[in-house]
Symmetry: C2
Subunit: 195 residues, 2 copies
DNA sequence: GTCTATAGAAAGATAGAC
DNA sequence: GTCTATCTTTCTATAGAC
């Protein structure tokens, strides 16, 4: 199993993605050069091309990986019995998951326009699938009369925008703990849903 | 008053800003070159530097102009008598103003990180001033007992995030008119505020 | 006020040595 | 698997002609 020294493919790939994510989130995709990413990892620029065919693919891998993780994590969340409990679960899940991955979330919202049409469509479909999870909850609650919503599609988009907004201001160690933020947002979402 | 032909300073400046805004919004600040902007206006790149000292200043002028317009437009809006009416006025104003200037709004949220510290602080202060307008409404309603909010600061941020989210999906001629969107969001905001 | 021309730096990506 | 070196293109910004 011994490898030649200087051979690190299993560790270098993830490190490249990690540094690229950090730099893209901080400065923006177009503002970050391959040389900067390589320097952050401790490589020369040319070596990056052993791990990605080009810069856009590096971005796409990050966005795709994030969306896959998001959907997998939600799928792994136990399904509560009532629509109201499922909505509460979604609110808490979304805030928690997004705060844990602030950089990836930021990228997924900001750098979509740097993807080509095919890659863009792939990410959009995953985002839509996630939105559909919330919309299904709202529809079921609407159907059984426990929610009062003027429009389930708009409520879906409004709730997700509101929850994702937490990432723009939340700072660890600030005035409010994560748990308190969850409580406050759940209160507002519950009321907005007419529950 | 006759000018030499080829002399267009009064019209060229605004056209540069208009094209820059369009291109920055579409492709991102860092991804757009001065040559592209010049070509869109019908100039050579060097001519742009008669109107802006550098690329960042061009971006800053757009963001600053947008925030000034936003605050001026809100200040010009008649102040309703009750907190509930003022909140409704804010919701409708925000949706309307932002939909009318989708590109500028997009820029103001996406390209802040391309500003230097001083310019960044200027824009942030203006954004804060706008948030304070909504927070004052929420506080007054909370004080007189017509709103029931767990936290006025978070409610401010949540409502603005929710309303600004309209810009990401609204398309003229789609399923819903602007007026209907305003109604639906006002319904959700009113309920979320416990009013 | 705008153009042409260009300086000087930096970008993405590839070739070949080790 | 990584590095050095480089090709080619493009960038921001400036100088000087008109």
């Amino acid at each position: 199993m011994a490898r030649k020294s200087g051979s690190h493919s299993e560790i270098t790939g993830p490190r490249i993605r990690a540094e690229a994510q950090r730099l893209f989130a901080r400065h923006g995709f177009a503002a970050v050069s391959m040389r900067q990413i390589a320097a952050a990892v401790g490589l020369q620029a040319g070596a990056l091309y052993l791990y990605t065919p080009d810069k856009e693919s590096l971005l796409f891998d990050l966005l795709k990986g994030h969306m896959d993780d998001l959907l997998a994590a939600w799928a792994a969340t136990p399904r509560a019995a009532s629509p109201l409990s499922r909505l509460e679960g979604f609110v808490r899940f979304h805030i928690r998951f997004n705060l844990d991955r602030a950089e990836a979330v930021f990228l997924s919202y900001m750098e979509l326009r740097n993807l080509g049409p095919a890659n863009f469509a792939t990410i959009e479909a995953l985002r839509r699938a996630y939105e559909d999870e919330l919309e299904a909850i709202l529809r079921s609650g609407q159907a059984e009369g426990s929610f009062m919503l003027p429009d389930t599609k708009l409520a879906t988009l409004a709730i997700i925008a509101m929850l994702t907004g937490v990432n723009t201001w939340f700072r660890e160690g600030g005035r409010l703990s994560r748990a308190t933020v969850e409580e406050i947002y759940w209160d507002m979402v519950r009321k907005a849903a007419g529950a």
